[in-house]
C-alpha cells in the first residue's frame, strides 16, 4: 500500500450520504453482498447522518448535492473559508448561536446584521427543522425526529 496523495479532495456529509445510499441500493439491486466490514461501517455511518439534529435526519431530505454550489455562491460576499463552508453544509446552523459554533471569531468578523444574513441564506438554501409541534396549528403529530 502506498499513499499517493493524502488529501485529494474534501467531501461534505451530503455527498458521502448520497454515495453510500446509492451504493447500498445498487448492491441490493444486483443481489451483491459487500464485504462485512464495509456493510458495518456503511450502516453505522448512515445511522449517524440520519440522527437528529443532523440535517439528513429530516424527511423529505432538505437538500442534495446540488445545493453546494448555490450555497458557496451566496456566501461568497462574506469571505467564509472553505472549511467553514463545509461545516455550514454539514451542520446547517439555523440560529446565530449555532453559527458561532462553526465560524472562527464570528463576532469580530461580522456585525449582527451580517450574522443574521448568513443564517437567512442557510435557511433559504438548506432549509430548517419545522417548528416544535406545540407552536404548530393542525398536524401536531409531526415531530422533528
Amino acid at each position: 500500500m502506498r499513499v499517493i496523495e493524502a488529501q485529494n479532495a474534501v467531501l461534505t456529509n451530503v455527498e458521502v450520504y448520497e454515495f453510500l445510499n446509492d451504493q447500498a441500493r445498487q448492491h441490493h439491486k444486483e443481489k451483491r453482498r459487500a464485504p462485512g466490514n464495509l456493510e458495518t461501517v456503511r450502516k453505522e455511518l448512515l445511522q449517524y447522518l440520519e440522527s437528529s439534529p443532523n440535517p439528513m435526519s429530516q424527511r423529505p431530505l432538505p437538500y442534495n448535492v446540488a445545493a453546494i454550489p448555490i450555497l458557496i455562491k451566496k456566501l461568497r460576499p462574506y469571505s467564509i473559508s472553505k472549511g467553514e463552508c463545509v461545516m455550514i453544509m454539514n451542520l446547517r446552523p439555523t440560529s446565530i448561536a449555532n453559527l458561532n459554533a462553526v465560524l472562527e471569531d464570528m463576532e469580530g468578523r461580522f456585525n449582527e446584521d451580517a450574522q443574521q444574513s448568513i443564517v437567512d441564506i442557510v435557511i433559504e438554501v438548506l432549509g430548517q427543522f419545522p417548528p416544535p409541534p406545540e407552536e404548530e396549528e393542525g398536524d401536531a403529530m409531526q415531530t422533528t425526529e
Binding site: A6, L11, E44, S51, N100
Partner: protein, 194 residues
C-alpha cells in the same frame, strides 16, 4: 469531516472470484482490506470512491492468484483541526467527557475544555454547567452534543514482540483518537441552543 485519499496498491484475486466481473472483484478486495480500518496519519477508511487505474492481471506462479496493480480514491473520515461535529456523550469521568458517534468511538473532551464553572457531580457521575442564576445544565449520557476538534492522537498498533501478551496490549490502544473542546458558545449539548 470526510476526505478523498489517493492510494496505490496490489490487489490479488483468488481463482474462486474469477467468475465476477474484474471491476467488482477489485472493488470488493479493496473494500475488504480497507473499510472500517485506520491508516496511520490518514484516518478511518470508509470505502472505495472510484477506481482510477488498473493494470493487466498477471497470474502468479504456483498460486493461481491474479495480481493487479491499482490506483483508487478512498473516502476517509478525518475531521480537520477546528472542525465542529455532532457526537453523543457515551460516559463521563472526573477527567472529562467521552464522546462517540455510531461509527467512531474514540473522542474525548478533557474537563479543562468545558466552560468555566462546570463541575463534576460524583453522585450522578456527570458534568454540570452551573450558570450565573444557579441554573444547572447537565451533560447527560446519550445527549447529542456539538464539539470542536482540537487535536488527534495516532497509535501504531504494531506489537513490540509476537508474544500473546504484547499482541493483546497492542490491540487495546486506539489507533486514532480525537480530542475536542466545548469551550465556545454554541458548543455542548445541542438542546441548549436549539
Amino acid at each position: 469531516m470526510f476526505i478523498l485519499t489517493k492510494i496505490a496498491d496490489l490487489v490479488q484475486i483468488p481463482p474462486s472470484q474469477f467468475e465476477q466481473h474484474s471491476r467488482i472483484a477489485i472493488e470488493n478486495n479493496i473494500n475488504a482490506k480497507y473499510s472500517n480500518r485506520v491508516i496511520q496519519k490518514i484516518g478511518l477508511c470508509i470505502c472505495m470512491f472510484d477506481l482510477l487505474w488498473a493494470s493487466e492481471g498477471l497470474i502468479g506462479h504456483g498460486t493461481g492468484l491474479v495480481n493487479v496493480n491499482v490506483e483508487f480514491r478512498m473516502i476517509v473520515f478525518r475531521p480537520f483541526k477546528g472542525e465542529t461535529l455532532f457526537g453523543r456523550i457515551s460516559s463521563s469521568t472526573p477527567e472529562g467527557l467521552n464522546i462517540r458517534t455510531e461509527f467512531f468511538e474514540d473522542i474525548f473532551v478533557p474537563y479543562k475544555e468545558l466552560p468555566e464553572s462546570t463541575e463534576f457531580d460524583h453522585n450522578e457521575q456527570s458534568w454540570i454547567w452551573v450558570l450565573e442564576d444557579d441554573e444547572r445544565m447537565h451533560y447527560d449520557k446519550n445527549e447529542m452534543v456539538r464539539f470542536q476538534v482540537i487535536d488527534e492522537v495516532w497509535n501504531d498498533q504494531m506489537p513490540e514482540t509476537v508474544e500473546d501478551e504484547d499482541m493483546e496490549n497492542a490491540k487495546k490502544v486506539s489507533p486514532y483518537s480525537i480530542q475536542g473542546t466545548m469551550m465556545k458558545e454554541g458548543l455542548g449539548v445541542c438542546l441548549w441552543w436549539d
